[in-house]
Symmetry: C2
Subunit: 279 residues, 2 copies
Amino acid sequence: MPSVRDALRLHGGAVDLAGADTRATPHWFGGKQEALADIAAMEPRLAELQERLYAQAAGGGSRKRLLLVLQGMDTSGKGGVVKHVIGQFNPSGCHIHAFKAPTREELAHPFLWRVRRAVPEPGIIGIFDRSHYEDVLIARVRGIVPRTVWARRYATINRFEQSLHDDGVTIVKVFLHISYAEQRARLLERLENPDKHWKFGPGDIDERALWPDYEEAYEAVLQKCTTDAAPWYVVPADRKWYRNWAISRLLLEHLEELDPRYPPAHFDVETERKRLLET
Amino acid sequence: MPSVRDALRLHGGAVDLAGADTRATPHWFGGKQEALADIAAMEPRLAELQERLYAQAAGGGSRKRLLLVLQGMDTSGKGGVVKHVIGQFNPSGCHIHAFKAPTREELAHPFLWRVRRAVPEPGIIGIFDRSHYEDVLIARVRGIVPRTVWARRYATINRFEQSLHDDGVTIVKVFLHISYAEQRARLLERLENPDKHWKFGPGDIDERALWPDYEEAYEAVLQKCTTDAAPWYVVPADRKWYRNWAISRLLLEHLEELDPRYPPAHFDVETERKRLLET
């Protein structure tokens, strides 16, 4: 059966980001209103699958969990996706981790140190807003570490993700793909609204000037770090409604494949009912 | 102006939990449907106040933040409140912390050690699902530490909360008050639905047998640890719609008093607009 996973998944061949249509709506054949209705229809199924995942770990000792990794250029909508995803689940079973510039303590450790500490526990849905991929993106583009260092990290990341996979983590890596023009429109919106000024810094335009370098660094990531254990999905993200629909659908397909089950009762239901009714 | 804070706040006098009506709806004069409508009407205001709080810390160096502390007997709805609160805010600006039985590492430190680490950063809305109060509740009822130890903790907690208050933390402590009969109904519901069996353990009925001891321990907490820096609010919680309404209202009143403001731009808007338009 065709799925949004098949439609968005990379397989390791050459990637041409500039040539891809960021307004496309792969695997969706309706418009915005129908997509919003479909998102609403997915919500109870997502919520139930999450509860089963949580219950299976809490009551049954399962190690299964899900990790959504979000990457994309500035303004690509990572924060919007976090809000969207949490809205569809029980937030108590989710763990959001936003990766900022490494602290002094983090810099004193290998680059995956802070990432390992943020991996969701069994039963939990983790969301990484940025991730270890920054260590081959900004670190490469800005020359924070020499080439000999970042060039080795792709293989290190693949091994790391394989080990997570082997420990029950379903990894869903999403690149939110916006166009150069769309980023300009979104930055302009921030400048034109005084209530959004705090989200803007002149550094955002300096980073934007490096767009071709980031594009190249992303292409390397998408090509080198798509594995069977943890493939990349490229989500066209100029249209926020499609972006959200695609994320919900990706999560639904992965959770359905995981097929978590409520654990059986570890007690005799009749006995406990009688005990309770006596109180 | 009368407020829900005034209606629910304790002032340090004797507390009689068994005598209080857990189906009451203090400061609300409508029914369920009107309450749900009022909750929906509060949502945009809550979301904007949260964004301002976040922005003020991110762009203006403010230390202000809010910490909602949730306590209550088993099945009183702490998890439901977490879900409700997160639904009204941007989850990226919230930090949920659920306190479980202390780990070996946590037990090797003073009881507030793990709590200090979970205090929200400036700009963040923190939610404690259980808290340091467990150290004078279950620790007292179950005799986990001797009386001489737990008896000193009330004053320690008050000093700790005063120090948080002095560092910009607005503390909103809520006791979700359900009746003994309501707990029975909720436990029975879990027993009667196989999909809820994982939430139940025979230990829940053992704990329930200690209801009067917990009630006494809660009364001590509510009396000794209501301070000007961090008063307790008692929310009648048999009716979930009233519970959610009261929580939203409490948060709204506290955030409005905080009155967070967007920080001014640290750059020249015209210069930046020109730079952006050249890209």
